[in-house]
Symmetry: C2
Subunit: 436 residues, 2 copies
Amino acid sequence: MFQIKGCVSSKMALIVAKFGGTSVASPERIKGVADRLIKIREQGDQVVAVVSAMGKTTDELMGLAAAVNDDPPARELDRLLSTGEQVSMTLLALALEAKGYQSISYTGRQAGIETNGTHNKAKIVKVHNERIERALDAGYIPVVAGFQGIDANGDMTTLGRGGSDTTAVAVAWGIGADICEIYSDVDGVYTTDPRIAPRAHKLASISYDEMLELSSAGSGVLQMRAVEFAKKWGVIIHARSAFSDAPGTLVKEESPMEQAVITGIAHDTSEMKVTIRNVPDTTGVAARVFTALADNMVNMDMIIQNTSRDGATDISFTCPEADLSRAVEAIERVLPEIGAEGWDVDEDVAKISLVGTGMKSSPGVSALAFRTMSENDINILAISTSPIRLSMVIEAAEAQRAVQVLHTAFDLDSDSVFEETQLSAEEIADKMKKGR
Amino acid sequence: MFQIKGCVSSKMALIVAKFGGTSVASPERIKGVADRLIKIREQGDQVVAVVSAMGKTTDELMGLAAAVNDDPPARELDRLLSTGEQVSMTLLALALEAKGYQSISYTGRQAGIETNGTHNKAKIVKVHNERIERALDAGYIPVVAGFQGIDANGDMTTLGRGGSDTTAVAVAWGIGADICEIYSDVDGVYTTDPRIAPRAHKLASISYDEMLELSSAGSGVLQMRAVEFAKKWGVIIHARSAFSDAPGTLVKEESPMEQAVITGIAHDTSEMKVTIRNVPDTTGVAARVFTALADNMVNMDMIIQNTSRDGATDISFTCPEADLSRAVEAIERVLPEIGAEGWDVDEDVAKISLVGTGMKSSPGVSALAFRTMSENDINILAISTSPIRLSMVIEAAEAQRAVQVLHTAFDLDSDSVFEETQLSAEEIADKMKKGR
């Protein structure tokens, strides 16, 4: 990517290459990762590897901790979890040495990843990359443990689920890398989930904001915090497959020339809809409900308040299913105070999100989306929007069909993985006219 | 052990309790270890735990390293292996916290275990136990990772197989503990292997020297270096079961009052006998053979040179089977030089060792041993002795029977686990007279 074939004096690139748990799940795969790093070196580029723990190691360690302690103290838990990456980093360094390349592995502490003291989901506050830079200068391939850092007290911290992506971006920023390659079992960012819409195609590039909206709307390709970090510090991410050489998707600042109206469609079935029935429609009641929920750390997503009837109304909201017990506890506490009739939970809902930077300047998007749903008899339970996202909550049973019809309606269907078929604003306006 | 029942002002003891891989092999067993530590605390004593890695973790990590690198650099390997104890120490601390006891875990680095730089089998050179002592003073149960230390460069080192026993003894010495309890799946030191001689019985105590001889002769209860360390610094070891409350065996300085002639019988089938045939019986030939073997790091145990016949002789020696390839390489190299006919290997040999401090002052031991073997038609292939040990190499097929008849001949048989039936020197002399 950074080398012009046949050009001897091509510029040497500095690359951070991050490999997830699946890519280092076995000694054979670790050797494969070593081969890939060597290939980068043989192209004349410099490379720093960042690794996650092997396969399901982190889950297994969490399971062991839970088996001895229902509520493990965060500090000891972080120390336990950080061993997973120490194993994979050492094995990768050993594999590189076996293939004749000097390598040295660094823990989060040694790699200079300084975080705040919030154990289990620490935030990176500083990166001291002197050791990595010295190792590069000395001809080594440095291998850095992802997911871990060290706080001001010298205690080991971990960055939360998917934190290795964040480590990779932080290291890339720290050493001024040209690109941060994130290798996983997914070969890039698609217009939507190809398992649901077989004609989904891979995007050559996507903007940070679009990627963030897709991630928050349920697309699991990259960790959100890594993308936020990359956006903040201008690190270009290349999300690509660990098992093929095909190019993946670049995540970078959008160029004004390439704004598609709809870049992708995400779906998320991990939310539930909670309805509180017959709430007296008086001032402050909704506020009390939502304050109680917020106090219980329930991440409310959408809120729907029906039209009042006989001085009472139904209040619904959506939140992650994982928040169920905390939500129930809050509602039970507030129910007698507000005099509501009762509540029920519907876990069989899905959220479908259309994402695209061009949406800002294309008011026809929601109209086309709603008409498509209506024509296909898919009932919309709730709607929320951001400048570059339109989300609709529907019955879970309709999720797959909804993604497919929207993907077709917005002309995202493609026979070729890289065909750029996204509609322009004019084309959407045109489509709406014809439909009338 | 250190508390007089019903006595309120009993002296508080300071105990180091070490648990091997089997004792911490699962979350359930780790909780059991936590219960045992709590019991010690509730008795009014102070306790520091030392743990090995869970179950077969170290072997699994070695396997992973071997799968990516045939000859892994020792420094990276040590870092890899040291993660095993970091997992078990954290889980034990978590289990203690879950049961309402403050606990804190320390790596070898944090526990102040300073070693030399010989990776994979480092030797402890210094112990800085300030952090452990502070934690004890603050009411914590400190948990220390066994098997690992840190060298003068700040690199992680490991102490070699069974090194956690050595860590426990070193910590016990460093903090001035009253006793070092070593818990394992073996409930103490027996007069011989109870699987071979069902009437073997457990020893209430054994001297350091006897324990060292038994260990080197094949008894696997305690790691030899741990016993050497304990002897050097006068640390009393209590080898006992992790799965029962029964007392085990104390390893300590012998008292002049309790010298048994034979304390125990060890057997070892991991040796082989190598014979070099028709070696010219000229000066310096044997020296050349044994120098070549020593250069190849072959640990020769016994050497047997047959009577010369026609100016040639057979030279046999025994060594661990693990040294086979190095031994063969050395012999093949030296064979043409010395003009010997050839060589063969007999792996089906066993070494039976009688051990006892009282042997020094009891010349009848070898006579009784040889007569017992002869009466039972067991052929002795080679003999070696130390002041407190008599070893005989025999055919492996005879090993079990040899142990049994010797165990009976020296009156070690017992129906009770703790019966002290060992013969005195007078009784042995008496027995020999009657036998004539």
